[in-house]
């Protein structure tokens, strides 16, 4: 077995390499800061492996384009940031509804609107959950290191394929542009998941029929299954229906299909939480400052721990609730005006004090700011 060399690479590059390692062979995108490097790398690497890259005429088209490619059986990726992610929302909802596997990397920049293209932020947490209209399932993963950009993009592709849902990889500008030394895993050590293909002959195929897995089998376009895909409510044959009972059956399955796989989907990191009296809940680049704060506070004898959700949506609620029951307070530093805080407050408010440390001015939250907040809470 060869050992890969240590390399100094960017988070965005790690995302691109992770996608290719996971089997992505199709990318459509549109230039936007601070995610453009992902498109640039894909444009260089994909044709070398027989894959396809296309720069579409706009963000909406990029999202639609990868969904078309996914229907032919390819693993697909797009990448963008704030304004572009806003534009993609309708097609992301289509992917949720029609259950088309796809991965969207959002390198978050400071919003709203054009905001700060080169400024870091974590302002798209709630957009990732509820950006498209209507109730819908979604997965969002949030790396805090360059290595994790690689690993979580692999995981995102696997989740998208296995659960037939759009999956976000939520970077922030710092994580996307930061360079770190990484040793990427060997190809043979990377777990690859493919979508379930039909187990029936074309004549018997019902594209949205499911067994207890709740995930239907998906035929590649062009293999004779001749199936229909629509964003309208549909029955298990895939054709539109307005019958309330069938609409409800579809929506209940869509809204519960990820629950069944919580153990696999929910990822988080706990640091020094065993005896913690104060818990910091932080994610993405903010978690790096939080970890530094934890180390410094521990050196000063203050019992503080870190809970870092890696899966942001669905949120690892039970894990946090368990920890919150044993601390005096929970602090949520994030680079927005309190988005994930709403979720944390909902989970923790009956168990301990909750407070937020919010900053959205283009500068990262520093360890000292977190330390000051912890001292204030104590």
């Amino acid at each position: 077995m060869t050992v890969n060399k240590a390399r100094l690479i960017q988070g965005n590059q790690a995302c691109a390499e992770g996608a290719i390692a996971a089997g992505v062979t199709f990318f459509a995108g549109y230039p936007i800061t601070p995610s453009t490097e992902i498109a640039e790398i894909m444009s260089e690497e994909l044709p070398k492996i027989g894959g396809k890259f296309i720069q579409m005429e706009d963000e909406i088209g990029s999202m639609a384009c990868i969904l078309g490619a996914s229907l032919t059986g390819k693993k697909v990726l797009t990448a963008s940031s704030g304004p572009g992610i806003s534009l993609k929302q309708e097609a992301i909802g289509y992917a949720s509804m029609a259950e088309i596997p796809c991965v969207i990397v959002n390198v978050q920049r400071l919003g709203p609107s054009t905001g700060g293209p080169t400024s870091t932020a974590q302002g798209d947490i709630m957009q990732a959950r509820w950006g498209t209209h209507g109730d819908h399932p979604i997965i969002a993963l949030c790396p805090a290191t360059v290595k994790e950009c690689f690993d979580l993009t692999v995981k995102a592709v696997n989740f998208a394929e296995k659960f037939r849902t759009p999956v976000y990889v939520l970077l922030d500008e710092i994580i996307g542009h930061m360079r770190e030394k990484v040793i990427l895993p060997n190809k043979e050590d990377i777990e690859i998941v493919d979508r379930k293909r039909p187990s029936t002959k074309p004549g018997d195929y019902k594209p949205y029929r499911t067994d207890e897995s709740l995930i239907p089998e998906m035929a590649d376009y062009g293999t004779g299954y001749k199936w229909h895909v629509t964003g309208l409510h549909h029955d298990e044959t895939g054709f539109p229906t307005t019958k309330p009972a069938l609409v409800e059956k579809l929506m209940n399955r869509l809204m519960s299909k990820l629950d069944k796989y919580k153990e696999e989907i929910l990822l988080w990191q706990e640091e020094s939480t065993d005896d913690a009296e104060v818990l910091i809940v932080a994610y993405g680049s903010t978690a790096r400052s939080a970890l530094d704060a934890v180390e410094k506070l521990r050196e000063a004898g203050i019992k503080v721990g870190l809970f870092r959700p890696i899966t942001i949506w669905p949120f690892p609620e039970e894990a946090l609730a368990r920890l919150a029951a044993n601390v005096k307070g929970v602090i949520v530093p994030e680079m927005n005006y309190g988005q994930l805080y709403l979720e944390v407050e909902r989970i923790c408010k009956d168990k301990c004090k909750t407070s937020g440390l919010f900053k959205a001015n283009s500068e990262p939250i520093t360890p000292d700011e977190i330390i000051a907040k912890v001292r204030e809470v104590l």
Partner: protein, 274 residues
């Protein structure tokens, strides 16, 4: 229906949802006849649509079909064709879907000359939402959102497609169904972006409001107002007043996008081997 065409339809889904006298059914059959006659592999054929009356057509057609979101059919189709160039990809779209909300994808798909067979059902109106004016509603025509007559100018679709880079452009009508079928076949045989404008009629939302008479009268209007491009060449300009051209309007082969991309892949492979 003709027995030999039935395998191209999801017969159990008929009758379709379109209004009495809507021209879309005639155009949908012309597409089916063209596919049948062209002899392409139906298992390798995908039909994509957006949103609107015309975009309901793929639901009735027995292929891999995709009823996408408003305006984006061409972007989905671009992904399908680029991901698997072996597939024959058709796009069924309407005047609003293709030239208003989807206008950007329309010109760029044409610019790339990607091998898509686009059939644009032009009924001059947003039918599904009850009759609002579209970019193809003629100036002066009434719609629910142009109650005093349309103040805007309308597109000429073939001119737009040609200017944007489409390699094959034709126009047929529901009345001239055989011509329409032949144009679609020519589009299938063209390796590149083929745009066939199919003039339809909407007696419910356009004809009634503009006092054009019933479906039969509207079909008659297509017969009298259309003039074949070949015949038109021999006529003086005053004879073409108030007429529109039908037939093959543009046929100029050009490099096709997915083939060019595959050449790039082959070149990179060769370089890597050396």
């Amino acid at each position: 229906m003709r027995p030999d065409l039935q395998e191209l339809f999801r017969m159990e889904k008929l009758p379709h949802i379109w209004c009495p006298g809507c021209g879309h059914g005639i155009i949908m059959r012309a597409i089916a006849e063209a596919i049948k006659e062209s002899g392409i592999d139906m298992d390798k054929t995908v039909i994509v649509s957006g949103i609107g009356c015309s975009s309901r057509a793929p639901g009735y057609m027995n292929f891999d079909t995709c009823h996408t979101i408003h305006g984006r059919a061409l972007a989905f189709a671009t992904g399908i064709k680029l991901a698997n160039p072996e597939l024959n990809v058709f796009v069924i779209t309407g005047d609003g879907d293709a030239t208003a909300i989807g206008g950007n994808h329309f010109i760029h798909a044409a610019r790339r000359n990607i091998d898509l067979n686009v059939i644009l059902f032009n009924n001059n109106i947003y039918g599904m939402t009850g009759g609002q004016y579209s970019p193809l509603t003629p100036t002066g025509s009434k719609a629910t959102t142009s109650p005093y007559g349309n103040v805007e100018r309308n597109f000429d679709i073939p001119t737009l497609a040609i200017a944007a880079g489409a390699s094959y452009v034709g126009r047929g009508t529901a009345y001239h169904d055989k011509l329409l079928k032949d144009l679609i076949i020519a589009g299938i045989n063209n390796k590149g972006f083929s745009l066939i404008e199919a003039i339809s009629m909407c007696p419910t939302s356009f004809g009634r409001r503009n006092k054009l008479g019933n479906a039969a009268k509207m079909l008659e209007l297509q017969k009298t107002a259309a003039i074949n491009v070949k015949a038109a060449q021999k006529l003086p300009p005053e004879k073409l007043e108030g007429k529109f051209l039908i037939g093959e309007l543009h046929n100029k082969p050009a490099p096709e996008f997915t083939e060019e991309y595959d050449k790039l892949i082959a070149k990179l492979r060769k370089e890597a081997e050396q």
